[in-house]
Amino acid sequence: MPRLTVEAADETAEIFVVASHFALAERGVRRLERELPAGIYKVRAVSARSEWQKVIALRGDTDISIPPIEFGSAAPLALTNRTHETHMAAAEDAAPPPPPAPEIAEAALRRPGARPAAEHTASFNFMARWWTPYYDVDPKGFADPSIGASLRSGGGRRLLNLWRQDEAQGTATNAGPRISGEASWFAGDLDEDRFSGVSFNAAAGLYTLSLSDGDGTIEQTVTLLPGWRTHVFALYEPDTDAFGHPREDGGKRLVDLSIHIARGKLEMGSEVARITDAARFALADERSTATQELLGIVRGKSDAPMLGLYGAHLMQLLKDKTSTASVARSVDYDPGLFEEVAQNTADLFGRNHPDIVALLGPEPGAKAQVVPPMLWRGWTALLERSLDAPALVSPPMWRRTALRSHSRPFFAWRTPQYAGTATMMRDIELTRSVLQFAGETAALEPDFAGLLDGTVPDTRRREFTRRCITRFEAPRSVIDMVLG
């Protein structure tokens, strides 16, 4: 039989060989080498959310090389679409202002609450771009895409708007002690280049990123690590649709968000950055198939914290992965490898970081989390862990994040207009749903009789609480409040 060898340039590319009647014949990641009956086959390769295809006649041994596959990302990385040179150059050149001269720094320290620049051990880059169809290159009257974005404290208090109000603002931030006094703002020609952003130094820690989306904002946690720079890229769709009509929610809409953490400058041509984004999409789409190869890269790297986090969660996906594909790949969950990757990642983020607590569990005596994790799977893991550690996720944190957004793999929540009313409705809805579920469960399963009057055995109550955590995506503290 002839031998088919397929090799993809992309480290995380999934390869599928499709035979007659569209049936999957073989699959692999990055490289595939198989003997197959002579015939016609379609070779597909998927990277992030894009794919490459070719139909081949396999008459003798055949080698197929798959070039890097362009995919769409908020980050203007090389070999992604919606990117051009000005975006890449701006993203690479963005850097915080140099530390102030000693006499200026000294003067600044005399301000109440000021913090020495030496404490601003982390830095933050934000870049927003407009997304338009690839064929739509005509100049347009675009507004600053960063408008509406802000960086807040972990608890949600606004620190700094991420767009420059006007020229008079200069480089001043006036954002309080956690953020350096000066920032570098940058923007392209908004009609044609369609980007803007800001870069500054800040104290390491957990922050809330707030981004304009529709009729309100969406928020999520971002991490600034000492000695590292967190790069956030937001891609926006304008507030009018392709026909020029205003969107249903009246505002621009976030298309994609990409987060990287690097030692300073992020090279747009970096293979690790591209793999990090491919892994982000794999996690968002729950495609665990790239994991083994991905982790081969992750395990030895300590220069890609986000990749470590994505990789650890991709591994966990393998534990309960179900596939409907007719050809399975032999990818197994390896607890030893998971431990190694998770531990390496914990060394970077810190053992009490919410995403690490979600991965590895709380340490004895750990305090309640006050800031949600960055990743959705981190949030669901924390909820599950709350069954044994009810204080881990408090009712106020659940309420704050109750109106969810769709920015997978990140854990993001909406803060619409009239958020108070919406959150109250969510409370009522959850209470009604849990009580209805309790009534049904008690009626259908005799072991659970007494759920509503508190006479159910502890083991059954615990099991019911576990089911509620999964079904309603709420922590034990909230379920306990409903059940009394």
């Binding site: 499709v18 035979a19 007659s20 009647h21 569209f22 049936a23 999957l24 009956p37 015939g39 016609i40 086959y41 379609k42 959310r49 894009s50 794919e51 139909v55 081949i56 006649a57 008459r59 769409g72 990302s73 679409n81 169809p133 690839y134 064929y135 529709g214 009729d215 009509h245 205003p246 969107r247 249903e248 929610d249 298309v255 994609d256 999409f281 968002a284 789409d285 729950e286 179900t322 409907t324 007719s326 109750a402 109106l403 969810r404 957004s405 769709h406 997978r408 909406r414 619409p416 919406a422 409705m425 969510r426 809805e429 959850l430 749903s433 209805q436 049904e440 009626a443 259908l444 309603f472």
Partner: protein, 346 residues
């Protein structure tokens, strides 16, 4: 006739308040009623689903003409479901339930999605949680098989929590129900619609589904019988759906180019479907623009000579993989799913 099969079909195209209360707030779709009608046609067809008309419980936007109250809304859907449930419980035991839905949709997590109803508005996102009803029928085990086709977006949007089934759960212990679920989009991606070769708007998923069920997805089993199975339909949908999208849609990271599947038990959907063959024009490079070529199928069986004229070749083919070869050594291979009108080998 599949006398013990039943179906619930819903297609919502008109959403007058989906964008709010302003006069331009409607967010209508163009495909769902066509999709639902096409699925009902297939259900009724003797060489399709062959389901008795009385067993098909369908509701679409066209049942609510302009000037009438907007619909379908929750009551319209639950009334149909109540009627279906009553009929399903009556003996004899039923074999198969089809659930087909099309409209604006949402996803809660992977393989858990639903449909917004016609009166949905930003402040009141009334909805029908399709997956929960599907699971309800699996638990209740009124049917031997439950099949779900959901053509809707799976993004989470602004819905905080989907509505739960209006019935109390019923669990029939020890009674297995085979199930197959197919969703137009992976979580949390969007589905798309467009004008198809028949001149009408359809969802890309629904149009591919229709072609597959009409026989494009048929395979021949070891006994030599043609059939459309769950496996063959899945493979066909994966190959075909993205061919019905525009280049801009395929590049859009929010749009799911792949459908998603689950649960996925082995099922045979159509026994001996009608032969499926469609015309297609293959565009050839200059070197063989007017050549006589040899046509081969996926197993390299020789299907005979074909003659090109002015760089194009008119063929009538069954879905599959093909190769064209010339005596001068040129070779071109291509895939035909039945939805392409033109394939370029230039």
């Amino acid at each position: 006739m599949a006398r013990n099969d039943m179906a619930f079909v819903i297609g919502i195209a008109r959403y007058p308040t989906f964008g709010g209360n302003a006069s331009d707030a409607a967010r209508d779709l163009q495909g769902p009623v066509n999709d639902a009608d096409a699925f009902v046609d297939w259900l009724k067809a003797p060489d399709g689903g062959d389901v008795p008309e009385a067993h098909i419980f369908a509701v679409t936007s066209d049942h609510f003409p302009a000037g009438a109250p907007v619909g379908p809304v929750v009551r319209d859907v639950t009334d149909k479901l109540d009627a279906l449930r009553t009929a399903a419980k009556a003996p004899p035991r039923k074999r198969r339930l089809y659930i087909y839905t099309s409209g604006h949709g949402f996803g809660r997590r992977r393989l858990e999605g639903g449909l917004y109803l016609a009166d949905a508005a930003p402040a009141n996102l009334s909805n029908f949680f399709v997956s929960d009803y599907f699971n309800w029928f699996l638990d209740a085990a009124y049917f031997d098989e439950c099949i779900l086709f959901s053509d809707a977006c799976m993004d989470q949007g602004r819905l905080a929590a989907p509505a739960q089934p209006h019935w109390r759960r019923e669990i029939a212990p020890g009674r297995g129900t085979s199930a197959m679920g197919a969703y137009a989009a992976r979580f949390a991606g969007r589905a798309v619609e467009g004008r198809m070769a028949n001149g009408l708007f359809h969802g890309a998923f629904s149009y591919a589904l229709r072609m597959g069920l009409l026989g494009a997805a048929a395979v021949v089993d070891p006994q030599g019988k043609r059939k459309v199975t769950g496996d063959s339909l899945r493979d066909y949908l994966i190959a075909t759906m993205q061919k019905l999208m525009t280049e801009a849609e395929r590049q859009d990271p929010r749009i799911s180019t792949d459908p998603d599947f689950g649960p996925f038990d082995p099922v045979t959907l159509v026994e001996d479907p009608p032969p499926f063959e469609r015309p297609v024009t293959v565009l050839l490079p200059g070197a063989v623009a007017d050549a006589t070529l040899n046509l081969e199928n996926a197993a390299f069986d020789n299907l005979g000579p074909v003659t090109a004229a002015n760089g194009s070749l008119a063929l009538s083919l069954r879905p599959g993989l093909y190769a064209l070869t010339s005596s001068g050594g040129w070779e071109g291979a291509f895939e035909f799913t039945g939805v392409e009108q033109e394939i370029s080998l230039r």
